[in-house]
Symmetry: D2
Subunit: 320 residues, 4 copies
């Protein structure tokens, strides 16, 4: 279903090349000051920039359709809508016969019996993450006092930031794309968030984060490395100020332990590349060559930090 | 909340050292043949064995309290209960003052204001995974035709199985513990499972899997490695029989694509070790030494495959 | 929460005097033909008419913001929005000090700490039933084959329709309002809808119907009269074509039995009357006289049939 | 689904003639004192008594399977189980061919393809209300300060209590059954409970109450009578202490207004009567005569007050 959360609930709607994309936020406390400019900073962080981004440019000014009165939330559902302006449908080929590798073209067509909106990925477009980022802005207002620090820590396998520009230029020249790893750290998370057995902090965060297109993995604290450690090495003794090493990423038994929440997210390289690809032509019933045109990101991972941050804020706002 | 799923819904209850542990399964189709012996195989796979397991031994024979009539499910809620027999509470120390590193003792006490059942981890015990395994058995009956293959593929950082026995013996001698990596592969998953935006296959599987105590990470298909690949390398062209490389682990855009569902789970080393640990004594307000007694696993990861498999089956049974 | 349903889920948003009102419909099957004119008939049935209606006139043309592609539903969330045009906020007095008897002014102000939108009832306005009616139109398309017959069967205590015009004129002259009883009959409901224990047909229908402002009671089949009958009198023997008398209103044990679903809904007289009323002035801390100005219905019950019908269709679409 | 509630959630399971009936309560706050004897009073109120009750006698002592530690709730799921002892299955005929009028025999058989447990109504038995009553006892502990007053106010159409004994004797002699009306009043409900648009107090209470077998109608405050009133007559002016007449039953716009919550419930006469009934024989494909044997209530309505009260407490505990 297109909603997430029990108390603070986010529903998203819209398509990449339809009227627009939006979100309904249910359970927003009343009395929060909110205006359109509050969304600016997070929306800018999500915007494609530099040589790695898509050339699509949207104003992305949110329209607040409900839930706001005299600059304050009312406690009624808050609806945020982003009209689509800059949609060149002609960019988008018909992928029915030749579905793009790594994309949802094929499964969506099978699942919805070819009734899905194929333009620009339709309801599967990365553009759906725009209302998520806006919901995250509202969630962070609810979480007043917690601080979020989310960034790309690895690009195309390299942690050396000074090399990234060159890597991007080189991939662009080849018509190829890059992936990366995003790290999110949240400070001042109160002790006791999380509702085991089923709704551990890790369960809810991973549920939300895997809704972001292109995410392939998530690990908390020491993550996959912990599987190679001994207990005496991984264990996280308490000191007077709480866990000392935070190898568990701020969570014990599914419940926040007062240490910073810390996790890493693996983002695959974008599937849309201009380099020709061999793939199956379902119409001709033989292998064929696909060249994806249109405007796409070379490295969507660069835009993911603010989206991961929004997802995390949405989860925490639901738990608080 | 202690339930998971929308159509096939599993609720778990119980404590390690109380009357028992159990599950209520809602949405079980009627007419499925079921008897107590059907649970035997999966329960045996979960049982601690060899030098790596806890010395606790339970008969673990399920009592079916409701939902069954003349050997068939009725469509009404199916309740499965495992009474506790072998509970030596005296094994369990009072961890109030000296909470065990890596355990939920401390956060649970804060969250529930010291009213939680501290014996054996209470509602946080690994024993809660027993009704999960039983629910998985039922789920796999619903998923007739899919086949599950779940195993430990790495122990303590090593993929060489012939070394594992020695590694376990050595860790046992040191009073230490080991972690590992579990891989799950499901064949014959139909195309079209998954309900984006929020309920992608990865979202639901990760949600369920992170409910298992000790899980630190999850990755689908190429997982974290994909973040270092180029698009042309990671992309998964279609062949006449579907995706060729299955680097996406059987999921595109959150929806199953007909290729095997494939993911890996990182399990940390057990937190309970007999080796002395330095940690904070909240009563004395200074650092102290803790020696955890009682019966615990040396490598809980060895018991995790059947639990991961059960969680996956629960998710798929809800989606089908 | 502002959503209802498990499979076919309706969320409503908006305020009477804000940007507009709308609904997000989740779980709409793909491939249903839909265009704006499909909504016309039901919207017209809801429109105030004659001397009994409010003088507010809205065009009420729905904008479909998402979920539609080339005239067919896509399976993605369907968002329907009705912009507000004709909003005379000046009509609405400040009811903070002198809350209107029977209205939510007072409780809403207390609940949301005076942050609610007070204009025209805000999120409590009867205008929220407009997107409900639109959702009902979609639901009835899903329920192809069932037929709905919903009408006002009693007005101001009288079942004699020829007297109603005169009763309305007389109440209008007095500045007073009238209530009524609505009956809904649905034919061709398949056997087996309803999910006891908790989600009986009656439970879900009553849940939805009591969301309509001004509903005071609901009864199925023989309803309140059945409480005075003997079992031999009320019992509904089966004939070759199913239940003979349908005293149970088409439901046995919470599950549809193939007979027409039949229930009656009591609608109170509108609370907003122009006749002066004595009520408490919270500012002056003494009794005071209130005269409610603005445009209101004299008999909202006349507009309720299509809303009850929509609610019923929404419930059935979720169960099918 | 067999669970109800968002924060305080009740799941019921079991069959009349299986191992027993029970409930899992999720969201119970920790630290509530609870022992088996706390359930005694409410369970006794539900027990059939006098000539109007079924002759079935159960000890009905609850077993608490989880969620309790040293006499206090722990915050983990509370599981209450009532084993069945006194089950004479032989009492129950095979109703496959000759389904009982007014019962779920027929619809349940169709819905679950004849796999349902037919003994004693199976999962449809009135015995399922026993764990509901127990859940109500826990809910009322959560609602410390509110007071509940629920009673049968009308029997077989008569409000004159002194006549009831004679009416029951007479119906018993005829092998017939009686219905009644139950009124529930809750004092000290705080202002502001209820979550419109969808989860008004009336929506949630009616949803829960219509889960009780045999309920045919519900009305709040002036209820059906209000439909015949004028606005000036029905309106409920505020006095210094809140609403004066409470014609709205303690709810405005779906939200509690501080006045007592007040509603009435119509209960049909029991469907199981020993008087012979003409009904369809699906095996012989012609009308036939049914005589229902076994032990049943003559007037289940007499046992309903404590069940209605439990349902109301469950709803309020979820909203608080």
């Amino acid at each position: 279903m297109d909603s997430f959360g029990r108390i603070f609930r986010v529903s998203v709607f819209g398509e990449s090349h339809g009227r627009g994309v939006g979100a309904v936020l249910d359970g927003v406390p009343d009395g929060i000051e909110l205006e359109a400019s509050d969304f600016r900073n997070d929306i800018d962080r999500r915007r494609p920039s530099g040589p790695a981004g898509s050339s699509r440019r949207e104003e992305d000014v949110p329209e607040i359709l409900s839930g706001l009165y005299e600059g304050h939330t009312t406690g009624a559902p808050l609806t945020i809508f982003f009209p689509n302006h800059n949609t060149e449908s002609s960019d988008y080929q018909d992928f029915d016969a030749l579905p793009r590798p790594g994309h949802a073209d094929y499964v969506a067509a099978v699942k919805w019996d070819w009734n899905n909106d194929p333009r620009g990925g339709g309801h599967f477009s990365g553009r759906l993450t725009l209302p998520i980022v806006a919901a995250g802005t509202v969630a962070k207002k609810i979480l007043d006092g917690m601080s979020f620090n989310t960034s790309l820590v690895e690009l195309g396998g390299s942690q050396e930031r000074e090399k990234w520009d060159e890597m991007i230029r080189s991939a662009a020249a080849e018509g190829d794309s890059l992936g990366g790893i995003v790290e999110c750290v949240v400070d001042n998370v109160p002790i006791g968030l999380g509702e085991p057995f089923w709704d551990s902090v890790e369960s809810l965060v991973s549920h939300a984060v895997f809704s972001i297109p292109g995410v392939r993995g998530i690990e908390f604290g020491d993550g996959f490395r912990s599987s190679a450690m001994k207990g005496s090495e991984h264990n996280d003794p308490f000191g007077p100020q709480g866990p000392i090493k935070n190898g568990s990423g701020g969570v014990n038994g599914g419940i926040s332990n007062g240490a910073p929440l810390r996790f890493r997210v693996a983002v695959k390289p974008c599937s849309s590349i201009s380099k020709p690809q061999k793939t199956y032509n379902f119409a001709k019933e033989k292998m064929d060559t696909l060249v994806v045109k249109g405007r796409h990101d070379l490295c969507f991972a660069m835009r993911v930090p603010v989206i991961v941050e929004a997802m995390t804020a949405i989860v925490l706002a639901d738990l608080v």
